[in-house]
Amino acid sequence: MIEKVLIANRGEIALRVIRTCKALGIKTVAVYSDEDYNSLHVKKADESYHIGEAAPAKSYLNQEKILDVMLSSGSDAVHPGYGFLSENDDFANLCEKNKINFIGPTAKSMNLCGDKMECKAAMLKAEVPTVPGSPGLVKDVEEATKIANDIGYPVLLKSVYGGGGRGIRLVNTDDELKTGFESVTGESIAAVGKSAIIVEKFLQKTRHIEYQMCRDKHGNAVHLFERECSIQRRNQKLIEQTPSPVVDQETRERIGELVVKAAEAVDYTNLGTAEFLRADSGDFYFIEINARLQVEHPISEMVSGLDFVKLQIDIANGEPLPFKQSDLKMNGYAIECRINAEDTFLDFAPSTGPVPDVTIPSGPSVRCDTYLYPGCTVSPFYDSLMAKLCTWGNTFEESRTRMLNALNDFYIQGVETSIPLYKTILESEEYKKGELSTDFLQRYNMIEKLKEDLKKEKEDKSEAALAAAIMHSEYFKSRVQSSTSNSSNWKNKLD
């Protein structure tokens, strides 16, 4: 039985894991880099160990150092969160060898999922439909170009070690493919230290719909319903919701059965995600398995009522699933907005620095997973996700209006955030109607709409701003005047 978990991660996901461990009476061990000594995960864990410099390669990706801490702290398990070492089969292997319970799939299964081509082959064998593309890894730009011309542009270049939208590029021509190949390689190496590329047909007006998979060590498998994550920028998810507006109960069950097959095909254990593209035709194509807890897991927790981190720990402990598929019911509607530190108008460029003040929204059916606190810092060394704001509603409209309320309540001083964009999106007719696609932002000119909204907001606030300005200039004057004149009917003109 797991009694002490090292969390090989930082930020909101480290806090998320600590929270459930506390509720279960499991001790937690945090690790931190030079950049993170003031981070909340260090303060909330039972023990916290310094593991190196700010750069991920020197700390959160340093397997040997993390292993040292696991052994010296007497941790019997490790939770990798997402990103960093979470899908690194070498690390999973290292843990297995050192009798540390890795909370996630086996190294072998992870390796198979991570090898996008072998995974695809396994899916085809299990009769799970996949997207047309290269039959395996492409060796170089030349081979990629040949395949792209065979299946026809546009195509996607993907690093098999990527994830979360990094290490992926859409290219339309041979030239674009050439530069794209280089940057995908670069990003993948920067993020996880290695790179290998596949080519895939790019489907038009697609939705990104994914299923939460769940399989125990005894082979019992269920799906925990779908999430639609179509609203993206640069292939990274911005807003997720469950249920998907285009998945009815029949579809949910039909694709759900495929998902269970997919989990079996790669002998997957613990929680994971099977990602699909849904073409405009309604057809689903398997794209990949994310062999870890997903950023957007809270919305699935909200509609299933389950604590996924607890479920992960129970499965890692070898316990059989406490439910069958037929026991699971979807309850209500949930939305997640990823609150990123980025400047929408600078092509979503990162925005970093101190956050002197922050107000975290709360209220009925609002959940905010975040590492923010007044006085914290958003670091340039790690990703831009500051908070995951989730709302639940008995109806989609209720979850949407609760999200708008919560976005309005969310105040983050000091950095640019994606909050204004989300307000524009959530108030758009297209979003309300569920007309989603992975090119939603471009297709419906959301950035332009945001500009108009911000202009209108400025206009709406003009009189109040002016009033504030007038009182400010008058403030000092009246303090001077108050000593000479106390007339309660005092009149004064500024000019």
Binding site: F345, D347, A349, P350, A465, S488, K493
Partner: protein, 170 residues
């Protein structure tokens, strides 16, 4: 006194017309009366009810004829010129300002991953000058004008802060 709110078309004329006591004032904006009740006030900010509606403002830097404040979390710049023609419009999306300058500055902090040009190269507006890495993302810094690279101020592997000079293009 005349006011101009940046990015907003209309100009405003505003004044305090009466102190009603009990922290309440009458003010006039473009000849319309408004009631203000101050809840809290100091040199850094003010909380008040304007026509019974709550607002909170923080005062940022301000100089003789420009005041920067954040009202209800919306940043607003107010020009207090008497001659409105002099007011320079600024667009929140960046863009306009400095297009005639030599200096290409970084709008984000980051690490220099690669430099795509050499000194003396000729370059078109929008061409990639270098690539920065920040928050695990690679972000291209593009030329703000066409011309030739007069000097490059960065090195591969070095870090740049927001506002640092990347290159000069003439």
């Amino acid at each position: 006194m005349d006011y101009k709110v940046q990015d907003v078309e209309t100009a405003f004329d505003g004044e305090i017309t009466e102190n009603l006591g009990n922290n309440e004032y009458l003010i006039k904006i473009n000849n319309n009366d408004h009631q203000i009740k101050i809840l809290n006030m100091d040199a850094k900010g003010i909380e008040f009810l304007l026509n019974q509606k709550y607002h909170k403002a923080k005062y940022l830097e301000n100089n003789t004829n420009e005041m920067n404040l954040v009202i209800d979390n919306v940043p607003i710049t107010i020009n207090m010129h008497t001659n409105l023609d002099e007011i320079v419009y600024k667009n929140s999306g960046g863009g306009g300002e400095g297009a005639a300058q030599l200096a290409l500055k970084s709008q984000i902090p980051g690490k220099v991953v690669s430099i795509a040009v050499n000194e003396g190269d000729s370059i078109n507006n929008g061409d990639v000058v270098c690539t920065l890495e920040s928050m695990k993302m690679q972000v291209a810094v593009k030329a703000h004008k066409s011309g030739s690279i007069k000097s490059i101020k960065i090195k591969e592997g070095s870090s740049v802060a927001k506002g640092d000079l990347i290159a000069e293009i003439e």
